[in-house]
């Protein structure tokens, strides 16, 4: 069901943990949906020099978080902002259709953390587009 890349990032997630005194931090998701991601940024001269995350969620959510942190590490804030969930999915060699929405968590987390950094630095927050979390199919039930 999951690609090897996904399974690799899920079983050996990169950049797990917290950063003490981060320059920006974002938490998205909620326990109702079953997905929560917290992302910590360390930023020097507009470049993300370090990033850590914590995720409560399914394999796709954890792998997306891990991959997203890899993608933004070393990038400028502007570059990081532009990374979409599609980019994360592509980097993971794809996700099952019903799991694509899990990768939105990563995109939203990055945006939130960057805006948190901007606010701390008295910059106006950028508009966080709330993406439509459409009804995923096919659903599967407990037997």
């Amino acid at each position: 069901m999951y690609s090897e890349k996904v399974m690799d990032h899920f079983t050996n997630p990169r950049n797990v943990g917290e950063i003490e005194d981060p320059d920006g931090v974002g938490e998205v998701g909620n326990p109702v949906c079953g997905d929560i991601m917290k992302i910590y940024l360390c930023i020097r001269d507009d470049v993300i020099v370090d990033v850590k995350f914590q995720t409560f969620g399914c394999g796709a959510a954890i792998a997306s978080s891990s991959m997203a942190t890899e993608l933004i590490k070393g990038k400028t804030i502007e570059e990081a902002w532009a990374i979409t969930n599609e980019a994360v999915v592509t980097a993971l060699d794809g996700l099952p259709p019903e799991k694509v929405h899990c990768s939105l968590l990563a995109e939203e987390g990055i945006h939130k953390a960057i805006n948190n950094y901007r606010i701390r630095n008295n910059l106006p927050p950028l508009p966080e587009e709330k993406r439509n979390d459409e009804d995923p199919t096919p659903a599967v039930d407990q037997r």
């Binding site: 949906c33 914590q54 969620g57 954890i62 407990q142």
Partner: protein
């Protein structure tokens, strides 16, 4: 260890089915000789099933599975009684084969009451009594729950139904073959079962219909099954279902005793070795093979994936395993907060599971949960 989802066909059952695929393939409703043999086989299979649940052979109707049986019971009784108003009483923790059918019937103008359950998943029979109205035409309460294993007080519910002259249906898909069933003692008018839950073939089920129960057909066509369920008979499937049920009932006492022991050791072991964990469902009135535990701060699908890497199959009530938004309706109905429902793990033991399997799980789970907790933003840190 996901025997509640499906079980493999037992060797003896496969053996019994084999001849009916080809050499003995006669259409049982035709008149020629191989057809007559087929008919005899079907009728003796029907008797086997009848005996297993304390029914008469002519009250047993073969279907394509638990889903069809449940749909037939609900849609069939509702439509047969449409003029009476057809109010239906069921519970909030039924399988979707009941709940989604009920919801469809609601849209078609049949009011439905979904009764709540307590923290252990038990329905108060008194609540059934209170819910009965003048127009109630069906009460459908499952014998045992597929997720948390809780067994209902079917007999009490059945006699309440009968006191009011209302037919009583029970979805016994998880119970059949695993705990004793008697449609007579338990005042059951309709009962669903599915072969692949007791080491029979997939795509085969039964609806028991007590003689005299008013019910419309669901599948119309040929005159098979006494004109009540059309379609060319699935001869190997029928033989497989009956053989599997026969063996399951024969070995039930012994086997369920052993499985119950494994279950209790597994539950005790997990609760002991994993902090922040709790058992879902009833401590004693539960299916012999059912273990359902919630682990705080972690999500179920990720547990399943790591268990899978250890060669252990399991299931979860987390929405994330199903691609839907909400976690299991059953876990929410017993009062679990969403996070705990997402963090549930179901292990279901069956024929062929051993002490060693339990050991494997007990070795694997604590480390897996800890690993995931270490990634989790919710985890407050190890207990001191």
């Amino acid at each position: 260890m996901d025997n509640a989802a499906t079980t493999p066909v037992r060797e003896e059952v496969a053996e019994a089915m084999r001849p009916y695929f080809s050499s003995r393939f006669g259409n049982p409703s035709s008149i020629y000789r191989i057809a007559c043999e087929s008919r005899d086989v079907i009728e003796s299979s029907r008797e086997t099933v009848a005996k297993a649940i304390g029914a008469d052979a002519d009250e047993i109707f073969f279907t394509s599975g638990g889903t069809e049986s449940d749909n037939w019971a609900l849609q069939g009784v509702a439509r047969a009684n449409a003029k009476k108003g057809s109010h239906i009483i069921t519970s909030a923790i039924e399988h979707h084969a009941i709940l989604h059918t009920a919801r469809y019937l609601e849209k078609q103008g049949f009011p439905v009451t979904y009764l709540p359950v307590d923290n252990e998943g038990r329905l108060d029979p008194g609540a059934v009594e209170d819910a009965v109205t003048d127009t109630t035409t069906l009460i459908s309460i499952m014998t045992a729950n597929n997720e948390i294993g809780t067994i209902q007080q079917v007999q009490k519910i059945g006699s309440i139904a009968h006191d009011h002259g209302i037919p009583f249906h029970t979805d016994a898909v998880q119970a059949a073959g695993h705990i004793p069933l008697s449609v007579h003692d338990d005042a059951i008018d309709l009962l669903s079962l599915s072969a692949h839950k007791f080491n029979g073939p997939k795509g085969m089920g039964v609806l028991y219909i007590r003689t005299g129960t008013k019910i419309d057909n669901l599948l119309f066509g040929g005159g098979q099954e006494k004109k009540r369920r059309a379609g060319t008979e699935n001869l190997p499937g029928i033989v497989g279902l009956a053989t599997a049920l026969d063996i399951a009932v024969r070995d039930q006492e012994k086997e369920s005793g052993e499985i119950r022991k494994l279950r209790d050791r597994l539950i005790a072991g997990l609760l002991e070795t994993v902090p922040y964990s709790r058992l879902n469902g009833h401590p004693t009135e539960r299916l012999p093979g059912n273990v359902n535990i919630s682990f705080e701060f972690v999500e179920g699908e990720s547990i399943l994936l790591l268990l899978d890497q250890e060669g252990i199959c399991a299931s979860t009530g987390s929405a994330c395993s199903s691609g839907s938004h909400d976690p299991s309706h059953v876990l929410l109905a017993i009062g679990l907060p969403h996070a705990l429902a997402h963090g549930s793990l179901r292990l279901t033991l069956g024929h062929g599971n051993t002490e060693k399997d339990v050991d494997t799980v007990l070795e694997a789970v604590p480390g897996i949960v800890e690993k995931l907790r270490d990634i989790s933003p919710l985890y407050p840190g190890k207990e001191k």
